[in-house]
Symmetry: C2
Subunit: 202 residues, 2 copies
């Protein structure tokens, strides 16, 4: 009688996704260690112990959130990197895809950026490896921009990569809270900043 109305045919994977969403929201707001499994259960309208039907442990919930957050990043970056466009357009596209998830799910980005360090070693290293792969793809775009003389010869490609990620990631901190700063304004502005500073001056 309790959960009768909630149950339906559609609720196969949906409820699990809701649980991950709830975890993301709570972890983003209170931080991993500051959040209790009770908090997550509250969002879902269930008992604290019932959460353990969906997650083996609190940390497993964190891993699930982070997995969603990190998903597809590298593959989308690779797709951009392989295109037959200018390096400038690639940089702009990279910033766009990097910020895109923030529109629909900032909480995931925030949890990834701030809480991933609390993962234990098997999962942590997997995530770190995916990050490195992502970073290398971005840096190669910079390097190819230099090689084709579209970007200045003295460009520090590693720092350029860190700058792109730094700009993108820092937006997660205030995205949705800075009035007037919508997706278009941010991505267009940041892409413009980056491209202007990377291009050869003539």
């Amino acid at each position: 009688m309790h959960a009768a109305a909630r149950r339906s045919v559609v609720n196969g994977r949906r409820r699990l996704a809701e649980a991950v969403d709830a975890a993301a929201k709570v972890f983003a707001r209170r931080g991993y260690h500051g959040a209790s499994t009770q908090d997550i259960a509250d969002v879902l309208g269930m008992r604290q112990a019932s959460l353990y039907y969906y997650f083996e442990s609190k940390e497993a919930a964190l891993e699930a959130v982070i997995r969603v957050a990190v998903e597809d990043y590298a593959s989308r970056a690779l797709r951009i990197a392989r295109k037959e466009t200018s390096a400038s357009e690639k940089v702009a596209a990279l910033i766009r895809t990097h910020l895109a998830p923030m529109v629909e799910r900032v909480e995931y980005s925030r949890v990834f950026l701030g809480e991933r360090r609390f993962l234990q070693d098997p999962a942590r290293k997997r995530i770190r490896a995916m990050e490195l792969r992502y970073e290398r793809i971005i840096q190669r775009v910079m390097a190819e921009g230099v090689a084709s003389r579209e970007f200045r010869a003295d460009l520090d490609t590693r720092l350029a990569m860190l700058a792109l990620l730094g700009l993108g990631n820092s937006a997660a901190a205030w995205f949705g809270r800075e009035p007037g700063m919508d997706f278009e304004r941010i991505t267009a502005g940041y892409a413009d900043f980056l491209v202007r500073s990377f291009r050869t001056t003539h």
Copy 2:
């Protein structure tokens, strides 16, 4: 007999500073909620309860750390903003002062950036007010650069301010861990990035 050797005339304020240092180190590593007062006491070589001689509460320790981290930021920025130099030089100087504390005390920066949100409302609003003051000073430098035609007329000064802080803050995440990325390389590179993208193209 226990703490005899440690005690001396010099240890007036020094021990408190050590306690704040210990808190900064532990909060930076484990996060505010992930850190226990026991962890901090361990660093100091004292008992958990003894910490309460220096801090009223765990949160008071956090506030002490953050206060140190936030100290002087606005005043140093203001000193730069008032100088009779070009806007470009001001931007470069702003990046430098922003990153300077990271050399000697990254932990403080990290705690400020990641844990300040856990402060309760009296302290939290005070910190936020100081941040806003800092942001306004930076943005005004951008605006004056536009007014003097040193920076492009279409520069989004608010986004430019966020970009400067974003670049600076993101460095706190990897400062000291990215091989080869020393203070000079970062500050010079970032200053260069910013100035190139802000300047009028002619």
